[in-house]
């Protein structure tokens, strides 16, 4: 308690220098917060878009590695070489998909929908466009995809009502001058063709997707692609997107088919975001390191000015550790007050940034800057500020603790 009293009097006796150090910490913490909130906000925003626009998990009709031959299954330890192996020709797709879908649907916290995807060529007024044709069950698709929100004309219900309906992207609609009710021909890779009516147009924001993705009813796709009663993927949405990795490996273990979570599919993007965070935190931490030089300077000056006080305190019975504590406390006080004020300033800056509206180039709507309000960045800013203040105080504090009273008394008397 005495140490705290002395620390306070030292700091208040050098008001201007203390204030400058304090401002350094306040600005450091505030900028740390503002930059962190903005960067993490844009990262979260990006991930939300990534997660929302793609399935959390895709189960496809592939295996991660070639299936073992019966001889290897029987004797896993044996060395067996098989030559002239010729893979069996089979209709591709998920075998027994209804049972497997039921198995997946029984897992908690997720929704699953079957899809049959294949290639087709779309013909309209002599123009052709290769597209990806997805056969869906609209009622189930609704639970796993944001397609319904992206529709700018028509509805999913109109697709369920019309077995010859097709939903196309806005890019394709613009290119071929298609509207709701327009008819067009679809020729599948196998040669089957059908005339379909446009019952919906979506805009996803991804140009190539908007030009090449089409949706029809699952039954229609199965007929066109000549794969009766088959689907070749399940797409899943989870209540908690972060558990996707674990759920995907659980499904893969259960049904054998390759299950890819969004995190696995976007691994390199997530890595880039991680590296970006490391760089960002290094830079904002550097601000606090610079601020701590101010504290070092202030406390060093106080130690030099107060050598006589230190000498008398030591001679009257204050231990080296007591003296050290006084100056460490000074760093801690500046750090603590600076952190609190810095957090408040940072919060203000974050509010200001959150209220800024920008119009992205090429966009039509204004959007707010994405700001992340997570509590861990507040803790991180305060902890880093306190740590650098303590470190800055530690060097002069150690010097003060080592001062020998006799050396100073000899010089003074």
């Amino acid at each position: 308690m005495i140490a705290l009293g002395i620390a306070f009097t030292h700091l208040t006796s050098r008001k201007r220098q203390t204030a400058v150090s304090l401002i350094g910490v306040v600005l450091g913490v505030a900028f740390f917060l503002a930059v962190s909130a903005l960067m993490r906000g844009s990262e979260k925003d990006f991930i939300v878009r990534l997660i929302d626009n793609s399935p959390h998990i895709t189960v496809s009709d592939e295996y991660r590695s070639a299936r073992l031959q019966p001889v290897n299954q029987q004797w896993p330890q044996a060395l067996a070489e098989i030559r002239g192996l010729k893979p069996q020709t089979e209709t591709r797709g998920i075998r027994g998909w209804r049972a497997k879908q039921a198995l997946i649907a029984a897992l908690p916290g997720l929704r699953v929908a079957p899809v049959l995807t294949g290639s087709a060529v779309l013909v309209f007024a002599g123009q052709q466009q290769g597209v990806s044709l997805s056969g869906i069950i609209p009622a189930q698709m609704r639970g796993v995809s944001t397609i319904e929100d992206k529709l700018i004309a028509g509805t999913l219900d109109q697709l369920s009502a019309n077995s010859n309906g097709v939903i196309i992207g806005a890019g394709l609609a613009d290119k071929f001058k298609l509207r709701l009710g327009s008819t067009l021909s679809v020729i599948a890779a196998g040669g089957a063709n059908r005339t379909l009516t446009v019952v919906g147009i979506f805009r996803s924001g991804n140009a190539s997707y908007d030009e090449s993705q089409t949706y029809v009813l699952l039954k229609r796709a199965q007929l066109l692609l000549d794969r009766p009663d088959r689907v070749n993927r399940f797409i899943l949405k989870l209540d908690d997107a972060n558990s996707a990795r674990a759920v995907a490996s659980r499904i893969e273990a259960q049904i054998g088919y390759k299950s890819v979570s969004w995190a696995e599919a976007s691994e390199d993007i997530l890595n880039v975001l991680f590296v970006r965070n490391v760089i960002m935190y290094s830079v904002v931490s550097a601000i606090l390191v610079v601020a701590s030089f101010g504290i070092y300077n202030t406390i060093s000056t106080i130690v030099m000015e107060k050598t006589r006080d230190i000498a008398i305190l030591k001679s009257m019975g204050f231990l080296a550790a007591d003296i050290k504590r006084i100056f460490l406390l000074e760093g801690l006080i500046v750090g603590a007050i600076g952190s609190v004020l810095g957090l408040l300033c940072g919060l203000g800056l974050m509010r200001l940034l959150a209220s800024i509206q920008i119009r992205p180039p090429g966009g039509t709507e204004t959007v707010n800057l994405p700001i992340w309000w997570g509590s861990e960045q507040f803790l991180m800013a305060a902890a880093f500020a306190l740590a650098s203040c303590l470190l800055a105080a530690w060097l002069p504090a150690r010097k003060a603790g080592r001062l020998h009273p006799v050396d100073i008394l000899r010089g003074a008397t």
């Binding site: 308690m1 005495i2 009293g5 002395i6 009097t9 030292h10 208040t12 006796s13 006589r308 006080d309 000498a311 008398i312 305190l313 030591k314 001679s315 009257m316 019975g317 204050f318 231990l319 080296a320 550790a321 007591d322 009273p405 006799v406 008394l409 000899r410 003074a412 008397t413």
Partner: protein
Amino acid sequence: MSTVLRARQLTRILPGEVPTTLVRGIDLSIEAGEFVCIMGPSGSGKSSLLYLLGLLDVPSSGTVELDGVNTQGFSDDQLTSARLAKLGFVFQFHFLLAEFTVLDNVLLPMRRLGKLGDSQARARATELLARLDVAEHAHKHPSQLSGGQRQRVAIARALANDPLVLLADEPTGNLDTASSSNVRQILHDLTREMGKSVLAVTHDPRFAALADRRINVVDGQLDPDWQPV
């Protein structure tokens, strides 16, 4: 009378390219309630001897016994704790902490020792200030006091933890004649009324007149025959 402070073959050599001997082979003892002054020419090693006896400095050889305890081999912290509980210091310069009031300055050693509660410590500090006739300045800062008053506050602070020995290094060196004689009288009275031992380094021959005993230090050694000019 019991011996409170005893030095045996006390030697202090400052290491360096040319080692300097500050104190050489001094034996002495101070009894409880004794008023002793150390005199000698400038640079003779008086202050160095006082620092050694006050456990502020560590002898190169020889021992210091405080209150019957040999302090040889004590760590820095042990020496500091011994100073806190048993010794009080007064220097030529008052060394009061400028940012603290007179009362707080006197309270500092008591708070550090932590033997007395806050109200008891305040009562004792006020009593000491009253005894040294500076009670009315308790809530002033040292800069508002005269030199003599400051030195009396410094004495009150040195007495705060009820030390066995008060060590004074030229306590009147910075004071005018009236204040000097006042401080001399106070130090003398401490031995008579409170039973403290006082060991004072001084150039002032009037100290010798009041002291029970005079110790002369010349060239780092005791010299009974030396006389102040």
